[in-house]
Amino acid sequence: MLGEFEYLMLTAAARLGEEAYGAAIRQEIEGATRRRCSIGALYTTLDRLEAKGLVKTWMGEPTPERGGRPKRRVRVTAKGVQAAKTFYNAVTRVSRGVGWEASRIAVRP
């Protein structure tokens, strides 16, 4: 079973697709959670996910906007997609009928 932050990272990486790399995933998570995401948490979690076989990472080409430094690119593996689905389903099932779930539906625009 994934942890909360692991799920956030997998979701952000899946949403970004080909454009998934450290800084972009961080920005995506900060935008979604409205909380600061530290580089330390990001890269250590990324390593953990890679060790579990849920993502694959590799060093990309250096780019000028990054001062000539490369990106650490990320791709979610099939196993990662499955783990994220399992987590999402579990959260959805366990949330059914609780107060905040009902109010979330009520305030949906």
């Binding site: 580089i39 330390g40 948490a41 060093m59 990106k71």
Partner: protein
């Protein structure tokens, strides 16, 4: 004093410089990716430094899940830190006597005396050699610790410095006081009482000696030791053998362990050829650093760990 407008950029430059130093604790690929992320996201130097510190701490902490760093801590960092604290204190106290003699009791009339210069040259030689021995021993200790694992050096460096502080403040004074009691009980007042009645020689000078002649060379040695992995296995074995011989000789000769072991019968051996060789071998870091510098100048390559 600098104006407010000057202080900002200066602080910024300092933070980026610190960030550059700290980022060397990361693996090369990760360092590049993280620094690229900072450049892209436009973080301030302070934010980037805080973020990077968090990452380095997490990376270093993760390495302690293995048993080997704990073994290095217990088997090398604690005993070597304590040993060097003791040797540093002994060196500081010996040199304090000479410093007090010349700095606190200077008399210009002495410079006209030929006998004074003879004695002065002998004193200076003794002080310089004892300082060089301490620097080389500390460098060797750092080298051994650094050669164990390159990735965990920042944590080892912090722990070793912490051990030196504990050794200087608590370990060495207690050990040496006990050694004096064990070896002999002075019945007459100590001749060195006037020197150590001065707070500078009693408290400040040993700490200065420890910081300059032990902590700095040890950290330098750790950095050099981190690059030993690129050497052929045979050369590595030779370097480790020399380093271990040096540290063993230091422990037996300088720290007064012979008294506790009551191994007085070993005295003739320790005054024989073996110890004379060991006294020269202790300066091996000088040869290593010179050879390394020549190698790098000729081959124009930097070690892989930089």
């Amino acid at each position: 004093m600098g104006s407010e407008s000057n202080r900002g950029p200066a602080m910024n430059r300092f933070c980026w410089w610190l960030l550059d130093i700290l980022s060397r604790a990361l693996e090369p690929d990760e360092r590049e990716a993280v620094r690229g992320d900072f450049a892209e996201s436009g973080e301030t130097a302070g934010e980037a430094l805080r973020d990077l510190l968090g990452l380095v701490v997490r990376r270093q902490a993760a390495l302690w899940q293995d048993w080997r760093p704990w073994l290095t801590l217990v088997g090398l960092i604690v005993p070597l830190g304590m040993l060097l604290s003791i040797v540093s204190r002994v060196t500081a106290d010996q040199n304090a006597t000479y410093m007090w003699l010349y700095a606190n009791n200077w008399d210009w009339a002495l410079v006209k005396d030929a006998g004074f210069w003879h004695e002065f040259a002998a004193s200076i030689t003794f002080v310089l050699l004892s300082c060089l021995t301490l620097v080389c021993s500390s460098w060797t200790a750092g080298f051994v610790i650094g050669s164990i694992s390159r990735r965990i050096i920042p944590a080892y460096g912090v722990l070793f410095c912490l051990m030196l502080v504990l050794g200087a403040l608590f370990g060495a004074p207690r050990y040496l006081a006990y050694l004096v009691q064990f070896v002999h009980r002075p019945s007459s007042p100590d001749q060195e009482d006037p020197i150590f009645a001065l707070a500078f020689y009693r408290a400040m000078f040993p700490l200065m000696v420890q910081a300059v002649l032990v902590a700095v060379p040890s950290l330098w040695g750790m950095r050099q030791g981190a690059g030993v992995g690129r050497f052929p296995a045979l050369l590595r074995m030779v370097l480790w053998s020399v380093a271990i011989s040096t540290l063993t000789g230091l422990a037996i000769r300088e720290a007064g362990f012979l008294f506790f072991l009551k191994a007085y019968w070993l005295q003739p051996i320790w005054q024989g050829w073996l110890v004379r060789v060991l006294r020269i071998v202790v300066y091996w870091p000088v040869g290593y650093v010179v050879a390394n510098a020549i190698w790098r100048r000729w081959h124009g390559n930097k070690p892989a760990y930089i």
